[in-house]
Amino acid sequence: MKVPQEEKNLPEHSNGISRRSFLKGFGVTSAGVAVTPVSELLTQLGETATKAEGKLLGPDAANITLTVNGKKMTALAAPRMTLVDVLRDQLHLTGTKVGCDRGACGACTVILNGKSVPSCMTLAVDAIGKNIETVEGLGDYDGKLHEIQESFIEHDGLQCGFCTSGMLMSCKNLLDNNPNPSLDEIKIATSGNLCRCGTYPKVFEAVMAMNK
């Protein structure tokens, strides 16, 4: 992906769009069709996925292709739909939850191109062409679970279970980047996942237990 010279020094956001280019993108369009600025924006940043789609998206729902847990899946999505809504309602992957719908609680955490993101604050169309990892892809329910899932069960890192999917994805993402995290690093990695039941101490234990 070619990044314009001026953007190279700006902090990167999780979807590769910097504030300057975002505003720039909106600046050149009218307030007409809702999704046009997005597709222009994606074009500006050289995203190949939308070009490969070969069409403009929106405002009505259209078929989009998402790569979820390594599989290509087709979903009917309007541009305003969030990734979590499409995952749950269209693809019937209900493991990812909605707790607050505004990025504050972490229940909707998925991994997008290697970064953990709140899928309630990610538009489904922004996930086109990216690797989406959800809790369903961690392990095989009928077979072998991921080590982190086994550890959660072993150490009771779950109670009611509603925050568990998001918590697992945050922990998995941490371990992917840092196989031997300290307690502080674990706390920071899960600081975006709220749990009202209070599983935190045992979530920490579960991740610490995986230290090699």
Binding site: H92, R102, G139, I153, E154, Q159, C160, T164, R196, G198
Partner: protein
């Protein structure tokens, strides 16, 4: 014919023998002499796999063909009269299948911002939202009152102009026969008939050598379960419906819907296999459950009605606030002579703001008097919230107790020991807490640390009560392949009852927990308790064990023939049934099961009334908190909590630890962060989300060391008692006492946010 049994009962290893009479056909209660294989150990949750793989389906995840999505229209005003509603445009909006008013006949009185006006069911939630925007409502705006103390004035706007009846759920403690009057917005005071008179307690206080009188304020707290309230309702025919509900009481949902819809209870099937937390707010069908059922009826389609996070904060419950004036007097030796508590609080348009539980039930005192009043305000209704009234009460009580101890120059733990001398459980708990917290290293003088970070250690007592309901019916089915299935309508709200049921069954039948299939959360199964009052484990496990005992007897009947023995001569263990005195004569469980006539059998075990009245009826508990206060920023960090608790005979220590962690973390959150804030000009909650309404996150979690002591009463076949609520009662009080110990000033208002710490330090004479 009841039978007599000898039981060894007591606290930890301090056991004495008693005789008890138990009903025939029930097993000898587990007591202090029993060494059990699974019970009391650590067992991984059997629903762990489902929950960690995303397979567990919560109510929010139920997707039915043709399902409609329903949303409420809510009043943006805290007080109004609605005389006209025009739904003509909304009715014709795209995708709309049904619109129903919450109240058929107008005028509708609105009493809080967020109150339901009507509900729309449409093909998508977007369409439902769009339709709501087309509804035209004529709000005749009325004066409103939000502040608890302001609302007491006779000049305050009246929230209700008729008398309000107290509505309680399974989460509340109800006292029979206390008559309460209502004047203006004040409902109360509620006074206990067994209390001393005000004159008697005033006299005792006047005669005390040392008296402390202090006032405290606590805030409104919302439950914040991660899964919001909601249901999916499907009419299976004109008279039968299936309801998936995020609930703490499957049968409470069933009963309320049956009553409102005027159909037999057996026509309503409620399913709750998994639910995302309740903490007291999820009993009954709620307005959302009733409306969803009616919308589904009208639209001839299943309806999902899940609240969003904002609605969750506004209208489905909260912990009332409190204003408490507490006076305690003691003699120079430290014995408490009198406790007097005058308290009031607002549960908005609801009731339940009482706080006298701790003051009344922890310390031995010569005289006790309390007044509790509900003050109506134009805000969302309160609901039972994990130990209703108790964290508030303990915050005030435990600080006042500490104040008195300091005044008399008596160590805070010593003072508590002295005034709970007759409670053996507490005496044992203080010893353990003292050691684990390293209390002997604690400087008796407060505020002795140098530098900007000041550390302190504080203690607080917990109290809760042993509740249970008889009537739970558990069915156990044994199949010819040896598989065992346990069925009951109870729900698992996260406490791990499923795993405990498997442990109890396995223990009794001599099998492994993994061999037991547990089927719960379906009101087509036998009656189960609502998960309130910390009574799930105490209510369900005896019924499970009683059923398992009956199943075992039946298997013994079959085995006896095969082993040429008598059923009374047999035992079950390690997957086998064998002659007790001749273990070589044995068969496997599967071998015997294969001979079941009719290929399977079912038995039903009941939860009967306890055969022993447990004394005391209180659950104890004590917590010690270590805090670090930054006197330059006012930020408080809880560094460590030592928690010593009792819960009768512990079932699964792994899930018990989780419950205690959860209670402590909620207590920290309540003590330091949470606050429902209403805009004083508009009556609207300004932080109805999870970014501005702050609950404890991973960075707020201290080191927690918990100890669970064994108490064997032998009162039921399992001896289990509860833990969920006792674990959260003392935490805020312990933290407050630790803060005082750290900085030498008392924070008497919750939440104990940095601004309050700094203001208190400033008023004391600067930060140093």
């Amino acid at each position: 014919m009841p039978k007599q049994v000898q039981l060894k009962v007591g606290v930890e290893k301090n056991l004495r023998e008693i005789t008890a009479e138990i009903p025939d056909n029930t097993p000898r209660p587990w007591d202090g002499s029993d060494e059990l294989k699974y019970i009391g150990g650590y067992l991984k949750r059997i629903d762990g796999r489902e929950k960690t793989t995303g397979r567990a389906k919560f109510t929010f995840d139920i997707q039915l063909p043709g399902m409609l999505y329903a949303r409420f229209l809510r009043s943006p005003y805290p007080a109004a009269i609605v005389r006209k509603i025009d739904i003509s445009k909304a009715q014709n909006a795209p995708g709309v299948k049904a619109i129903l008013m919450v109240q058929k006949k107008l005028p509708l009185v609105v009493r809080f911002a967020g109150q339901e006006i009507l509900a729309v069911a449409a093909e998508t939630s977007y369409q439902a939202e769009a339709a709501l925007k087309l509804v035209e409502v004529d709000y005749n705006i009325q004066p409103f009152v939000l502040d608890t103390t302001e609302a007491k004035k006779s000049s305050a706007p009246l929230v209700f102009n008729t008398d309000v009846e107290e509505q309680t759920t399974e989460g509340d403690i109800t006292e029979e026969g206390t008559k309460v009057t209502q004047q203006g917005n004040i409902r109360g005071p509620k006074i206990s008939p067994e209390d001393a008179t005000p004159d008697e307690v005033d006299a005792a206080l006047a005669a005390s050598d040392a008296v402390v009188e202090s006032s405290y304020r606590t805030q409104v707290q919302t439950h914040c379960a991660m899964e919001t309230h909601g249901v999916v309702v499907r009419w299976d025919d004109r008279e039968h419906l299936t309801v998936w509900a995020s609930t703490q009481g499957t049968f409470t949902v069933r009963d309320e819907l049956a009553s409102v819809l005027e159909i037999p209870k057996t026509n309503v099937r409620v399913l709750t296999k998994y639910m995302g937390g309740g903490f007291g707010a999820k009993f009954g069908a709620g307005i959302y459950g009733v409306m969803a059922a009616k919308l589904a009826q009208k639209a001839h389609a299943p309806v999902q009605l899940m609240l969003d996070r904002k609605e969750e904060h506004l209208c489905v419950g909260n912990r009332p606030d409190s204003v408490q004036k507490l006076k305690i007097g003691a003699n120079n030796a430290g014995k408490i002579k009198g406790i007097k508590l005058i308290s009031y609080g607002t549960a908005g348009v609801g009731t339940g703001a009482g706080t006298a539980g701790p003051a009344k039930n922890i310390y031995e005192t010569e005289t006790f008097y309390s007044e509790e009043s509900d003050i109506f305000t134009n805000a969302g209704p309160g609901a039972a919230f994990r130990a209703p009234g108790h964290p508030q009460g303990a915050f005030a009580l435990e600080q006042t107790i500490d104040e008195l101890a300091y005044k008399l120059n008596i160590d805070p733990i010593e003072f508590r020991k002295m005034n709970t001398a007759n409670n053996e459980i507490r005496q044992v708990q203080y010893e353990i807490a003292f050691k684990k917290a390293r209390w002997e290293k604690r400087n008796p003088k407060p505020a002795t640390d140098k530098g900007p970070i000041k550390r302190g250690m504080g203690v607080a007592n917990s109290v809760w009560y042993y509740f249970y309901r008889a009537g739970t019916q558990v069915e156990i089915q044994v199949n010819s392949d040896g598989s065992v299935e346990v069925k009951n309508g109870v729900q698992d709200i996260g406490g791990g009852i499923i795993t405990i049921m498997a442990m109890v069954t396995a223990e009794e039948l001599g099998l492994q927990p993994s061999q037991i299939k547990i089927n719960i959360g379906d009101t087509n199964f036998g009656l189960g308790p609502a998960s309130g009052g910390s009574q799930t484990t105490a209510g369900v496990t005896p019924a499970v064990r009683n059923a398992a005992y009956l199943a075992k007897q039946k298997m013994f009947g079959i085995a006896a023939e095969l082993l040429q023995s008598e059923p009374s001569e047999l035992s079950a263990a390690d997957g086998k049934i064998f002659v007790t005195n001749d273990t070589e004569k044995s068969l496997t469980w599967q071998q015997i099961a294969s001979k079941i006539p009719g290929e399977k059998f079912s038995v039903i075990g009941e939860r009967l009334n306890d055969h022993i009245e447990t004394k005391p009826r209180t659950i104890a508990g004590v917590q010690v908190a270590d805090v670090a206060v930054d006197i330059e920023t006012g930020v408080v960090k809880v560094e460590r909590v030592v928690a010593v608790h009792d819960c009768g005979r512990p079932m699964n220590r792994l899930t018990l630890e989780s419950q205690i962690n959860g209670g402590i973390i909620q207590g920290i959150s309540y003590a330091l962060f949470e606050n429902r804030i209403l805009d004083r000009n508009t009556g609207i909650m300004v932080n109805s989300n999870l970014d501005q309404y702050k609950i404890a996150g991973s960075l707020d979690v201290p080191e927690i060391e918990s100890v669970i002591i064994d108490v064997n009463h032998g009162q039921s076949s399992t001896g289990a008692i509860g833990i969920g609520e006792p674990a959260t009662v003392p935490t805020a009080g312990a933290i407050a006492n630790a803060i005082y110990h750290a900085i030498g000033v008392r924070i008497r208002e919750l939440p104990m946010t940095p601004d309050k710490i700094l203001a208190a330090l400033e008023s004391r004479g600067g930060t140093s």
